[in-house]
């Protein structure tokens, strides 16, 4: 919908709050309080021996309410050791896995 007046509205940039289900985020954040401290630095993804991109997974979860599959995670806890914010990442991952199992939302 191009306008004559030099501006336009792009469909893709509209925020539709109804399309994001934040219930999952709330459920997980409730059980892992330390997640609030995350600033998405990516140390977890950088150190992961199993190639899990935890940063992207958590970003997707917090912004889109989307559960990424974490099948390859070994739960070795290296991400916890390197996390500058001291987030219990193993517990976070376990909770995500648990929610996936309970709600069958694995992508």
């Amino acid at each position: 919908m191009k306008s004559k007046f030099g501006f336009e509205i792009k469909e893709g940039r509209q925020i539709d709050l109804d399309s994001v289900d934040i219930q999952m985020v709330q459920l997980i954040a409730e059980s892992v309080g330390s997640w609030k401290a995350c600033f998405n630095c990516g140390s977890c993804s950088a150190t992961c021996p199993a190639g899990v991109n935890l940063r992207s997974c958590l970003l997707k979860l917090s912004t889109l309410g989307e559960l990424t599959t974490l099948d390859t995670c070994f739960l070795c806890g290296k991400c916890f050791l390197v996390c500058p914010r001291g987030i219990s990442t193993r517990y976070l991952i376990l909770q995500i896995m648990k929610k996936q199992m309970e709600y069958g939302k694995a992508v």
Binding site: S34, P49, C76, L81, G86, I87, R90, L94, M97, Q100
Partner: protein, 613 residues
Amino acid sequence: MEKLFDPFVLPFTIGFSFIGIWFVYKIIRWFLGLSKTDKGLIFNGILTLKTWEAIVETVRESLLHMKVFGRNTRLGYMHMSLAFGWFLLILIGNIESTVYSGALFKPIYVSVFWRFFDPGPSFPQAVVQPGFAFWMDLFLLLVLSGLSFAVIKRFRSRIVGMKRTTVQSKVDRYALSALWLIFPIRLIAESMTCGANGTGSFLTGSLGHFFSLFFNPSSLVLPSWWTYSAVLGSFFVLLPFTRYAHIPSEPVLIFFRKYGVSMSAASPGYQDLTLHACSSCGICIDTCQLAEVEPGKSIQSNYFIRSVRHEQVSDIQYDCLMCGRCESACPVGVELMPLRQMQRPELGIGNKSKIYGRLGRNGHSKRILYFAGCMTHLSPSIIRSMEIIFARAGASWGFYDYDGQACCGRPLKLAGQADAAKLIREKLEADFIASGATLLITSCPICYRVFNEDYNLPGMRVLHHTQYIHDLIEWNRIPVSKSLMKAVYHEPCELGRGSGIYEEPRSIVNTLFAADLTPKAEGLCCGGSLGGPGINLATRRAVARGAIQQLTAGNPDVMVTSCPLCKKTFSAISAIPVIDIAEATANSLTASVVQPEKTKQPKSHHRQPVAVG
């Protein structure tokens, strides 16, 4: 002889019948809940020497409580006098009633309430000539003395050597009140009878005589026996629902364990038996480091068992560091760590082996296969030290996880994901055997434990690097020198309690350092454990601070450990340097330092090896 019955025996008889039926029902349930192999183990073991060993252990642990004695004499005396004293009262009371009634088979209440039916010899004589009356009084005194310790423990637990005592559930509190009342009321009831008849030995006789100075005891004989019977009966009725279920269950556990039954998911009956056998004595609370840090949180093993038994596990199954201190202290010998692992739900997470599919592995056709472990890769100086040591020893070795991308599977197992851990195990087993090595050396106690316990590696010896270094020093393969520093050794849970390796690291520390200031106590948890995903960083730090405080009490110059995870956890907050035992060895290698020869690595297509050369 007159009729051996009175209506007051009814409350006791009802309670006793109830518990008898419950116990038989439970034994059948426990046995049927075993897996087929476990049932076979029991059938094969029943007519062997194991039965005798189980009887001996039952006497030593269920009655005499030798393990509790080893911990604290007063606490041991408390447990022993209550259990063994009560047992002797029952045994001698039974013999006495059999001798005097002349009937071998008689209702159980006859021997329990024998003093009512037969008041015994007359008072002053019975004191000087020890007969049944004398012994019965002596054992009652033994029980009463233990009971006074139990009462003291409730209010001032330090006196019996315990920092804390168990916080009781409501139903436990009722049962405890009944138990505490049983013996004083028995004393009063027997004294009333003795006072009314002018009989009895030094305890019941004198108390009865004392009563008769003030009033006529015969009017109070029946009421006191009624009370005694009612208290006994209500204790028996409450018993199956309380911690006192351990009284009948513990011997069954000892027998099952002696025949070789162990905790597994295939035997839910054994698990249920274990839950009943816990006496909730509270020794596990004292050993738990989290009890110091989070006193309000009831996650210690006896509380855990209680909540599993009454099906109230919410998320507390993740709130334990799994250091195993409670397990090694448990006087009942409950397999607490497997029990906790089994309460962590299986989440059925995917195919772990696909991550290994794309990796080329190094280390073929060498004598030694080195497995650093993922935690060691976070502390690359340990790997460098191992390279120096291998070079000085002239070892032929290959590096399995040079790119840091292999996992032993134990972290998954600890989190309850046994299926996923099994996939990893199968992949690694095949790789290890295909490498043709005869010695597998790992730097990580977590890996070592799972390799040792779960892996099936025919023709391959698994060593932790402390054992390897110890052997090298013993055989003079590496020239080590003594440093002038004083060291303290921190024993990793997985290596010491978990795998039973205590001597080798201590011997290395003694060789390398001027003094070994390690405190003589059970090893502590560093707080970094993989066992407790639900525990946050602040709590972990507090546990680590407590451990450092205890370890550095002797002012050492350096803290030595043999686990990369303990090293990482401690070095974040320790005031003195924390080094791995391999680093200490590499530092002390005298003469010209030989540079480790660059091991040739195949190019990994997605990441450069971080920690080589």
